[in-house]
Amino acid sequence: MGIKWNEFFVTGDPLIFASQIGIALTLVGALAGLTYFKKWNYLWSEWFTTVDHKKIGIMYILLGVVMFLRGGIDGLMMKGQTAVPENDFLNAQHYNEVFTTHGVIMILFVAMPLLIGLMNFVIPLQIGARDVAFPQLNALSFWLTVSGAALFNISFIIGGSPDAGWTSYFPLAGKEFSPGIGNNFYAVALQIAGAGTLMTGINFVVTVLKMRTKGMTLMKMPMFTWTSFITSIIIVASFPIFTVALALMTFDRTFGTHFFTISGGGMDMLWANLFWLWGHPEVYIVVLPAFGMLSDIISTFARKTLYGYKSMVISIVMISVLSMLVWVHHFFTMGNSAGVNSFFSITTMAIAIPTGVKVFNWLFTMRKGRIKFTTAMLWALAFVPNFVIGGVTGVMLAMAAADYQYHNTLFLVAHFHYVLIPGVVFPIFAGLYFWWPKMFGYMLNEKIGKWHFWLFVVGFNVTFMPMFFLGLDGAVRRAYTYSAETGFGPLMMISAVGSVILAAGFAALVYNIYWSARHADRNIGNDPWDARTLEWATATPVQHYNFASLPEVTKLDAFWHMKKNNELQPLTEDEVEEVHLPSNTWIPIYMGVVFGISGFLLVFEWTIAAGVAALGILAGLAFRSFDYDEGFHVHKDEVFETESKWRKGANKGVKNHVS
């Protein structure tokens, strides 16, 4: 309670005022445009209510790209502020808010949606299925993610942003030291989005276990499917911890409990402990699917089967166990016993072993391969050296004694950006270039792609390499300014210039999407990269029912062998069957909206109103229970027509796109 109306909108900061106006105008413009061009119906029936895993995947990717813009602007603002000593572009409070929202958004609303989006699009196709195991649940996951992201993002214009870091440690994040409602946004928005992610995890575990096509045993699954599977297991294992921790945080902040406040007999360190029990596995959740994509992309463009498939599988299974055993390395310096620190130091170094195995497997896959230097492959190649820098500095940080020197400095910030950007963002870019033709029926332009690549990779290194040295010189993280005497100025300036190059790289991607949508060649066939896995055995863009008849698999790299044995024949009329698909539904988007509304009310601590709004959630559940829709059938003739159209023309008159 006690929220004053005059504090509802954030006022008094010209930057924020400008964005408020900008957002209002964009919103009005978008709504007017949609109404004018009569697009509402199309959006509603084709996208908002869809349960098709491919469309849901594309919407996830759109969310991730938009959030990348937001998180990237936060990053640039911080770099602008620290470019010169004693700068007053952002004050201390504003800087705190910006690094907090940057960290949360980049991890939870950029990395996760982009990866889950690609997983959604690709995994059912790779295992020869028509959809995920629970299509409607999948849509619910997506809309809860959107709901959480929207709630988190409005914090900076309505109510005030969270400002206690993406880790939001107690006691700082408690009511006593953060009395505003900013941190409620953190607790509630992440709770809603987290519920969505947890459901995605469950969905993909079941999908991979139950929906594989005939003959695809676990050891014949493409590597991206394997890593997504293990990722989903880690999601199911670790997200509930975050759910509980956030719920306790909400209780502490809103209802006056004392789980994490020392004054009432709570333990502030318990928050850090629970946060990282989730937070470290989260790092592997974002990095594993990325590794899987790289494996598939590298083996496609090296034109060889992945080297050491079995050892690859063993290493990711080992990671799923070890990733739960290292969390304390995030707070070595907070007063643990020597025994605890030694144990977690050793487990942390141990996890470098399976990761190292994977790097060598990629190198051996490329050895003696006839490598094709497409943009997707360039990202995969750049990944190796850059990620190794992140990994090696990680092993440095893993030594508990040495960490007392590095902890909370820009050395750490440089380290995790060297892990997250080459380890997650590069592979996502690789994946976008690689699967774009399957999603939209045209390729992203390779020439603009090279610009994107070089600007981004150079910009990235110029931005973050100086931070290692700044950190070793004693520059602390999360500090909004520094004096000229520290001598940090020149390196900080170089780093800021780097971030502008980085931003130019991202702009090149956005331009590439625009350019390719307008001008790219549409006649590219179903397999423009000469690829190896089943998703390429479908039409381009993929027909809505995925496969007319479910393929049968006998070997790893199934599609490669199909092509070799010339099995991709036009279907005969009697091979075609009716296809059964799930119908669209309004319930998931409705649930996203009511979760958003009652979350918003809870953020403002209007608990009764929030409770009333939550009745809407129960109503949604009730509707779902009485929903007897059995889906619909795609008629034989339609399937036959679609199939013969693309199969006859397949690869006729198609220009060769890779050389």
Binding site: I241, M324, W327, G335
Partner: protein
């Protein structure tokens, strides 16, 4: 499932009696013995875990059907996670001076 329907459900009967023994044993230890509180907690806690195992293996058919391997891995992994979270947190939070 089929192979069980005709023969005498011996594993169910064993499971049933073992459940009875474990339940009454736990009750007896808690109510009638003069062991220390700590010892009682440890003993009935252990009995509860054994009981859970019996339920899973003798009544819930975790070792049968197509999914038996998956189910077993699932249970073992969940037990591992639970132990790590609970025992790990207790160890970390109580052994240093951070609490």
């Amino acid at each position: 499932m089929d192979k069980h329907s005709n023969s005498f459900p011996i594993s169910h009967v064993i499971g049933f009696f073992m459940s009875l023994v474990l339940t009454f044993g736990a009750a007896w230890i808690a109510l009638q013995s003069s062991l220390s509180m700590k010892a009682v907690m440890w003993i009935i806690g252990t009995l509860a875990v054994v009981q859970a195992g019996i339920q899973l293996y003798m009544f819930m058919h975790i070792n049968e059907g197509d999914d038996k391997v998956t189910n077993n891995i699932n249970i073992i992994y969940s037990a591992f996670i639970a132990v790590v979270i609970v025992a790990g947190s207790i160890w970390v939070m109580t052994s240093g001076h951070s609490h």
